[in-house]
């Protein structure tokens, strides 16, 4: 094939990390997006700020914070390690956590915007028809925000595929474990004959990006047809 086994590993790893990071961050992102869009409570500003912290902090700082908290001797990481034998550093799981944390605020924002665009009155209508708040959320709000969820997924996927700073700081650059496409390109540029590899991986990146954009476009159209928006 066109790619070397080492490059295939990086591509496969990237997709794996991006997929799991997106999937795992989606439910909490929907929950927090809904809370931020529809509820007022004391301390909302601080809560909002904490959610958005990974977006504004340098990614290396995020990675270092993850190391402090979830590393093998971190505040939480030591218990994970002692009690469950889970070690995130140098592992694919750790890379997934890093990607999820970095992309989380972007996903939340996309979903929050989508909920903000849904007329609150339609939820009121559901409530007066006998639906509890939660029932109204699952039967009315959630279906109507699917376009927002989709764009949230796409942003999350793209951001996870491109994650570099937090990953390399938190889980280092281990081939087959944490060396995703960006890390592999970075490594390649440090090798005397790595230009060809860097170029091939760059092409793969472009293809992945374009592919996911087109996929999202198609899905968006279908969802909107199902929602009666087109």
């Amino acid at each position: 094939m066109l790619l070397t086994p080492e490059e295939w590993t990086a591509v496969r790893l990237s997709l794996e990390v991006a997929f799991w990071a997106t999937l795992c961050s989606l439910p909490p992102a929907i929950l927090i997006g809904w809370v931020l869009a529809r509820f007022e409570f004391p301390g909302k500003g601080i809560f909002d700020g904490i959610v958005h912290l990974p977006l504004v902090l340098p990614k290396v700082v995020v990675g270092y914070l993850l190391l402090i908290v979830l590393g093998n001797r971190g505040y939480l990481g030591q218990y994970l390690h002692e009690w469950f034998g889970i070690s995130l550093i140098f592992s694919t799981a750790g890379a997934t956590v890093a990607a999820a944390v970095v992309s989380f605020p972007l996903t939340v924002n996309a979903i929050r915007l989508a909920i903000g665009g849904i007329d609150k009155g339609i939820e009121t209508a559901a409530r007066t028809l006998g639906a509890t708040r939660l029932d109204a959320f699952f039967t009315v709000t959630l279906p109507l925000m699917m376009p927002g969820v989709l764009s949230g997924c796409l942003i999350s996927l793209a951001s996870a595929l491109g994650e570099f700073g937090a990953t390399i700081t938190f889980v280092s650059n281990v081939e087959g474990q944490t060396r995703t496409i960006p890390l592999a390109i970075y490594s390649a540029t440090h090798m005397p004959d790595g230009d060809a590899m860097a170029l091939r991986l760059t092409v793969v990146s472009v293809i992945l990006a374009l592919g996911s954009l087109m996929l999202a476009e198609m899905a968006d159209k279908r969802i909107r047809v199902a929602l009666g928006q087109i």
Partner: protein
């Protein structure tokens, strides 16, 4: 009895203090100009807005009581809320929209799906999506959806306001059927006196966040306190009448009320049917002697009970008839020229009117006859009602002017 006694202060400076009672059957209109707090009251009854204080009670059920700390969640109030803007669920078929409340109700399902579909004439729409429906069809579905949630009370917030005149005419007959065929109290918010006259049994008139009058329609809408709501040129007397004869050759009907008879342009209702006549004060002129050689068709004698100087050149003359009353708006000059005084016997003339049958709210008419709530089981629920909207009678065609 529906009891609403609430107050609410908005940060915008709007202050609502409403205290009203509505019967637990028939249509009670919340009537007033835009921004007077009608919708706010409805929202508080539905529970989407919480008052600062007071209480709301429907029959035995307390919806809200500040002192007792009761605030029933929206979903437990069982009110059918019909919004001005339909608010159908765009991602569901019409059938699923209709069944949304039906599936969730905890009350006995006395209002049947098939009956509602049939009554609203929406059987052919069931498989469609909301965005493919016209405004009038959407509003019918919204009404059906609210009915099928088996409500103990129906709230309608200007259900016709977002529709054009054609659509209004299309929906009104359905609302009349609703009123006549279901034993369900309805709170109906409207700023249109035509809609209120046609649909309501009782009225709570609101102005600036306060209830200024509340009671049976004919009583409330004839009161002078309603001036700020209705306006000088539209205020008048409401008479509950019965259709007694039709004269198709002359194109006139005779309706009788407690104090006599009125000849009006043909009413599209059978003899014996109840009708409601609205006579605007400015269309009533006065004469000291029995008018003989005038074109005016309707002549009723009465005694002046009060003369109130209105703003501008006008005076409001209240007449006591043998049973009811009638008010007339004349110029102050006429009062002086004729030497009108309380206690005097005069003849009221209600101007000849030319027939003009028009869709709802097309033009402000002089005198009008509309069909009030039927006291009998209404027409069979076979095909959707096709009769034209309330017969519209336009007086003379002249702009507002005072007759002396």
């Amino acid at each position: 009895m529906i009891e609403i006694d609430v107050s609410l202060a908005r940060s915008t400076g709007f202050h609502l203090k409403a205290d009203l009672r509505a019967p637990e059957r028939g249509v009670t209109a919340l009537f007033g100009r835009s921004g007077c707090g009608k919708t706010t009251i409805i929202q508080m009854v539905a529970g989407s807005l919480t008052p600062d204080s007071g209480h709301i009670r429907v029959g035995d059920t307390v919806f809200y009581d500040r002192q007792a700390g009761i605030n029933l969640p929206m979903e437990q109030r069982a009110v059918g809320y019909v919004f001005q803007d339909a608010r159908l669920f765009p991602h569901m078929t019409i059938e699923n929209n209709l069944r949304y409340g039906e599936r969730r109700t905890r009350r006995p399902r006395t209002i049947q799906f098939d009956a509602v579909v049939e009554m609203l004439g929406v059987g052919h729409l069931l498989k469609r999506r909301p965005h493919t429906l016209s405004g009038g069809e959407k509003q019918r579905i919204a009404i059906g959806r609210a009915l099928l949630s088996q409500p103990r009370l129906l709230l309608m917030d200007e259900p016709l306001a977002s529709l054009d005149e054609m659509r209004k005419g299309e929906i009104l007959p359905y609302l009349e059927r609703l009123r006549d065929e279901l034993n369900l109290p309805i709170l109906y918010v409207s700023h249109s006196i035509e809609e209120v006259l046609r649909l309501a049994d009782a009225v709570a008139a609101l102005s600036d966040g306060k209830v200024i009058a509340c009671g049976p329609l004919a009583d409330v809408l004839s009161r002078p306190e309603l001036l700020p709501v209705i306006g000088r040129f539209d205020i008048g007397t409401i008479l509950d009448c019965t259709v007694t004869a039709h004269d198709p050759d002359l194109g006139l009907s005779t309706v009788s009320f407690a104090d006599g008879e009125l000849r009006v342009p043909l009413v599209g209702r059978p003899v014996g049917a109840p009708a409601r006549a609205r006579i605007r004060s400015r269309d009533v002129s006065l004469s000291l002697s029995r008018p003989m050689d005038v074109s005016v068709t309707n002549r009723i004698s009465g005694t002046i009970s009060a003369i109130t100087r209105a703003e501008g050149p006008f005076s409001e003359v209240e007449l006591a008839l043998s049973a009811g009353r009638l008010s007339s708006l004349v110029t102050q000059e006429s009062v002086l020229r004729l030497g009108l005084e309380p206690g005097m016997q005069v003849w009221a003339m209600i101007k000849a009117v030319t027939v003009d049958s028009r869709p709802m709210g097309f033009h402000s008419p002089g005198a009008e006859i509309v069909s009030p709530p039927a006291s009998r089981p209404a027409r069979p629920a076979a095909n959707p009602p096709q009769d034209p909207p309330a017969l519209r009678l336009i007086s003379g065609g002249n702009p507002p002017q005072v007759q002396t």
